[in-house]
Symmetry: C3
Subunit: 647 residues, 3 copies
Amino acid sequence: MKLGVCYYPEHWPESLWADDARRMVEVGISLVRIGEFAWSRIEPEPGQYQWDWLDRAIQTLAEAGLQLILGTPTATPPKWLVDQHPDILAVDEHGQVRGFGSRRHYCFSSATYLRESVRIVTAMAERYGHHPAVVAWQTDNEYGCHDTVLSYSQAARTRFQQWLAVRYQHVAALNQAWGTVFWSQEYRDFTEIDPPVSTVTEANPSHRLDYRRFASDEVVRYNRTQVDILRQLSPGRDVTHNYMGFFTEFDHYDVARDLDVVSWDSYPLGFTDEARGGTSDAEKLRWLRTGHPDIPSFHHDLYRGMTGRWWVMEQQPGPVNWAHWNPSPLPGMVRLWTWQAFAHGAEVVSYFRWRQCPFGQEQMHAGLNRPDNVLDLGGHEAMQVAQELPALPQASRQRAAVALIFDYASHWAVRIQPQGADFNALHLCFNWYSSLRRMGLDVDIVSPQAELDGYALIAVPCQTLGDELLAERLATSGAQLLIGARSFSKTLNATMSTPLPPGAMSDCLGIQVHRVESLRPGAVESVHLGEHTLSASRWKEWLSLSPGTAIEAHFSDGQPALVCRGPFRYLACWPDQELLDACIQRTAAAAGLTTLPLPEGLRLSRLGEVTFAFNFGPEPQTLPAPADARFLLGARTLACAEVAAWR
Amino acid sequence: MKLGVCYYPEHWPESLWADDARRMVEVGISLVRIGEFAWSRIEPEPGQYQWDWLDRAIQTLAEAGLQLILGTPTATPPKWLVDQHPDILAVDEHGQVRGFGSRRHYCFSSATYLRESVRIVTAMAERYGHHPAVVAWQTDNEYGCHDTVLSYSQAARTRFQQWLAVRYQHVAALNQAWGTVFWSQEYRDFTEIDPPVSTVTEANPSHRLDYRRFASDEVVRYNRTQVDILRQLSPGRDVTHNYMGFFTEFDHYDVARDLDVVSWDSYPLGFTDEARGGTSDAEKLRWLRTGHPDIPSFHHDLYRGMTGRWWVMEQQPGPVNWAHWNPSPLPGMVRLWTWQAFAHGAEVVSYFRWRQCPFGQEQMHAGLNRPDNVLDLGGHEAMQVAQELPALPQASRQRAAVALIFDYASHWAVRIQPQGADFNALHLCFNWYSSLRRMGLDVDIVSPQAELDGYALIAVPCQTLGDELLAERLATSGAQLLIGARSFSKTLNATMSTPLPPGAMSDCLGIQVHRVESLRPGAVESVHLGEHTLSASRWKEWLSLSPGTAIEAHFSDGQPALVCRGPFRYLACWPDQELLDACIQRTAAAAGLTTLPLPEGLRLSRLGEVTFAFNFGPEPQTLPAPADARFLLGARTLACAEVAAWR
Amino acid sequence: MKLGVCYYPEHWPESLWADDARRMVEVGISLVRIGEFAWSRIEPEPGQYQWDWLDRAIQTLAEAGLQLILGTPTATPPKWLVDQHPDILAVDEHGQVRGFGSRRHYCFSSATYLRESVRIVTAMAERYGHHPAVVAWQTDNEYGCHDTVLSYSQAARTRFQQWLAVRYQHVAALNQAWGTVFWSQEYRDFTEIDPPVSTVTEANPSHRLDYRRFASDEVVRYNRTQVDILRQLSPGRDVTHNYMGFFTEFDHYDVARDLDVVSWDSYPLGFTDEARGGTSDAEKLRWLRTGHPDIPSFHHDLYRGMTGRWWVMEQQPGPVNWAHWNPSPLPGMVRLWTWQAFAHGAEVVSYFRWRQCPFGQEQMHAGLNRPDNVLDLGGHEAMQVAQELPALPQASRQRAAVALIFDYASHWAVRIQPQGADFNALHLCFNWYSSLRRMGLDVDIVSPQAELDGYALIAVPCQTLGDELLAERLATSGAQLLIGARSFSKTLNATMSTPLPPGAMSDCLGIQVHRVESLRPGAVESVHLGEHTLSASRWKEWLSLSPGTAIEAHFSDGQPALVCRGPFRYLACWPDQELLDACIQRTAAAAGLTTLPLPEGLRLSRLGEVTFAFNFGPEPQTLPAPADARFLLGARTLACAEVAAWR
């Protein structure tokens, strides 16, 4: 459990560097990320590297005892490079080139840009790869930020065709897989196939899903190219990349396979404001200055599973600049978020950024220090965490009893054909996760390819794309399963599953979904579960049941809403919160798990033998700690924005 | 009264075809539409026709006793054709080419595409034109779907100039007609005139109206080219085209002049969800699973007038895939819609589609059969209709006592200059139609060019474009007239009428509209009619009255709201529902028509000597049938989603 | 105090002209604007001028005793010119050319268009420059209307680079000023710099602010080129340009420096409907047919300060055509608006237009006369004003006791980085202005460069961009200052101010803004001021106070909301109406000004020794006139839409 910070020596007079380094140590920081946007300083003219300033910056930080994470500067190619090679730029869905003047102005499919990236990464790794203070590398920065995964350049078109040729071998196989006979979309050759863009109405969903897969694979390839260089030229260092929140444009599991450590950038207030997880307007006001309680941990629990080791690379330190509205975190929240990350197993929490920068696009983004170099609230809270850290035992996060499956491609498939305008698989997965957390359960979010054995409960909110293999692995996992609507409704090619949904799971569930309905806002379906009348909205399925499948809840028209067959449950709707909580409780009980419905805003997390509590709500809460609990942080009554930990 | 179905043999293994044909007959289907999206199968390589599969499909269906409607496959030109001739593609208002990958990817003005269309239609008509089972042809599919009437290609620009030269002969006449002296828009030659697109602010309304007329005429020309081939090569067969719902981008009366039968595609739930007729959010919820009661019949009554003979070519069979939300029709609605179409005079009701297709863009669109080939609810309801059909006498729909005038060009003129953001002439016409139907009246929707004599009541909700000729025909029709706001406010060139509105009707009405107001939502004007205080919104006119014109209703400020002079009434506002109903009742009474205000959701339609009743509402209704009524369908008490018919 | 009218002889048969002129005089009009859209009639073929018709039109008007304002016709270059020189067209932010077909289809940076403008203006000025009836010229028409200030043409790119080279001399200075080291945006040469458009995410704010400054300067240059010709060829005539309402795309102070008279186009209902000043939906309904009371006077008081002399060039005469909804002004409002303009110091109020034009884009825009040439309501009200005018003494508007600072560049800076989606500096300035007016105060709206001495109270709602010089001038002005949030938060380069905001004002205020929050709708902060609990929304600042700075109001969390130090007050939020009124009253009291909170809809304005009252509200009001007041217009009780004036 270490603290870090993001630092930009190139933004400040060199005279400040040594004092900055000294004060970082004073705050309790041990790791510093630098360099990831500095290409125009490293290579101000084509081929003329200027290492001296970076040498000195690294030396200054190292001499203060700080360890370094070096970022490769490929997220911001300099103007001269773009002017020399306009083909490095991406093209948007309207055919417009996405130009220079901000960041991420490159196309993942550009051969030129890959070559130039190899050159600059090699140069940087050769220079600093063996520096003793350099302990890690970050490739690029926030792949896909500002919708930069999908590009429609000529290079992307050509590489997509090549990707398809590899995937399908024969165009007849592609025609079959995509069902191109529909609307005379048949191709005679891979070279006839365009990206699924600028069509008169929606393009073929299989075509669109493959384009997303291709684009994701381009990110994987681009990242791996950098990783390979770094591993060769800077052995023994961790290689990471900083992911974002609620970001699904590429398959993060796939990129993670090439990383030592996954890291991510945690901005709870911004993500709440932007409703990236489906936050309602009422929730945005409720969690205005704390952020939604489950937004940070959703990502902690998602990214932790990818490589085991994980960091927060950028932690929100105060108000940010990029959401529609940017309130200030309540005093205490920066500390709370830091402890929450550690409780979920983070090795490092690194703040963005050391000092607010008074110029450029992010000049309204707070740092640990104000622009006038006074330590800000976030800085004081970071320092407090640093002082508290020794009281906590170092521990690894244990495997949870509950797994929740999230699959990027399934989410893509629903985005491509939502069928109901407000059906978003990511939002639904987040709702399920939040319900599990409200019940006091620890959760691992996992890929459908993950090892599933040993979990007591597996939640499958919306695994649209399902095949026999996954069905078999789920069925034999030994866990109680709660499977959500639309799961296994499609083949891996985004065509309808055969037999009817839930396809390969229909036998073990003993059901067939023979009709689905999407429902506009205001169309609410009552659901009767025991003595309770709960509700669903957005989505309703019509099930046929095989003998032996039991109805646990039904809609007002008598149709089954929740069914159970052995250890398998299926929920045939988009549940409102109370219905979802009830389904989770019922499944957890069957799995032998104790649930503890928590007051609004209170969350518990276990790390080794320590239980952490976090209070996101406005009211103080009495903690459910045993009578003999030994408090390492806080006490039995937990105020707003406060943290407790006990053994 | 026959049932049909849309079928795609190319989507299914040939081994299924014979069984499909047998089961169609079993359901009671007698007509099958095929072929309209099959170009890539008919001509998989340039010039190499593959008829064998289609020969066998036709033979299989024919042998089962089914009759065939063949669709020309021009809505989906194959990729090789697009690659050979990129000039067949349309160009959108941003100058972007509308590419391959879905359907309707062609520009009506492309000479190349017309030539290629002639080639494929000729080939198909030569092959099957004399096949005994082929009883009808459908040209192309849903002209204009996905906003494909307007294109801004070079070909369209050139043909527009030619169209203008024919229309105006001399550019001076065009300058005069359009008023191009305004803002120095004068042209010296037809070749200077661009499509009215990419202008800095709105283009000249006369220019825009003529571009719409031109674009509509391009559809007429394109369709007629196909029709001419079919008539020559396949004599004795009906030629039809399948229109859409609430679709106004081309003048359907004009296209109909070349058809034997008008057909249309009826998707009540989708049209209700998309508010194409102006449905409010409250109405969308009220009619969530029945659709708005008047949406199907509005189109039945509109399209019936065009050629006399008309079909439903595609009837919604269950949930669809293309609206924002796609609920399931209430059980019974597929049957109800079918009977409603017959009651309004349909010769054929054909369902879309035989079996849900598990791949491609419409994989979530229900069919009569589920993807696993089990007969679905819609299929069972179709079968029930087939069994009920013999009980009903064959009858033609008689002329109604009420005509409602709907004019495409008038609607375009209002779209071009709405003056109030929510003023939509189509929505207003639909409101008037709905009011007439709530009063229990049967209605013919007619073109302003239609024969008007013999109607007892003519409703003119919003005939913006009016001339002396139409005024004369209305004035001498012998009917009671109810004329709505904005009628006769423009010349045929979309300039203001002289004298002041209602222009050529101002004398017989004895009014002048000397000022108009559009009103934002929330600005409601009270209207006093007898003892009732009713209301208007959106639009208010200020009238000057000639002696002899009587005020029947007035606004709160004393200005006239409804005036009457002999058989002519004028309503100077956008009426809210109760005011509209009151005006309709008053006019109907003057026309000697008996009105019968119906409970919400109940509708009556007369076919020959039979009266049909349809209950779209949630509550059972007691029908206003005479005591001695003989029920051919249903009984005196009509449940939700039920149909009755009595003599 | 004179009345004028806009007239288009080219729109009407020549036979009408003499009668029109006679009737203008009859109405009481003395000035007529003509010519500004007539290029295609003046030069129907390249180089072939047709002056005869215009000669006769001018002569006809002159002979009736009317004086003329001639408009240069450059807002509407004819089609042949555009076809000859496509490079005169502007390019939008998507790279699409903005074509012919409406108006303002030119790029301010086009060298070709500047040359052609010089040619036509010279020709016109040579022809009519010495005509005795020509008393004034209007350059072009409504610069910037339809978002035409910003263009991204090649010409604009090149001229921007040249503009930057002049401003910064060395690219290193630009890199420093813009902070281009952020995200590796550094430039090696001015020729590398593109317009800030088509970037992947937002471009650098300093870059964007400079592009706005450049674009504004292009308007200044273009206008000055015309002015120079007119001054040379038509000496002794006033040169004006007609500005628009709530229009901020160029710096109107800068353009005004080259004008003799500023004029503007006043459309109170349209501006209210379009919420250009931030009008809420409730206010839109409240002021549906009167317009917001402070919209006309906000512009009167803004534009008056620019050259001292000012006119209303286009006064709304009835319903217009261009807002989303276009209601009719209440009877009386055209007269009221006319008097309101005179009360605020207008020399001329000129109506748009003489007669409603029955063709072209504005055919639904009312005139003083109906299209059938009957004098309309607006015409009658204009005539009434003309008859009342002699009763009022000619007087100049005296300097007000209150100045409100509005700065175009500060507004741009906030638009570029709003930080909260609903923070709009123009709206905030309008709110402050409205509060001052509700308190019965007369106001001068002034530039930050204006002479500030002598005001009793200076309101600084949102002067984002501040430097030492302005701070010094404010501090030594002798006035009581009320300074709003975000003032002096940025340098002139749109980087954060040093020291912390309010930068150069922080010493005299004794505060530092060390954190800011933007707040979404619904997030309301209570503010305690004396015994009152008021509220703020949208924006909250966290202040550190120096000793000697007093807290006059605080937020619920105890932080200061309104602070005072000597004559300086700072308001650290976006105040809701009551809080703002309270702050204004408190500051006015300190300035020794008497405030008189007015009933809703009543407004007072003083002109010389005369006090005017205007009642925009629905209820009659008793006026606060002294007992011995002598009424020149109206009486002590003022009905809705009525005017009074007393001495």
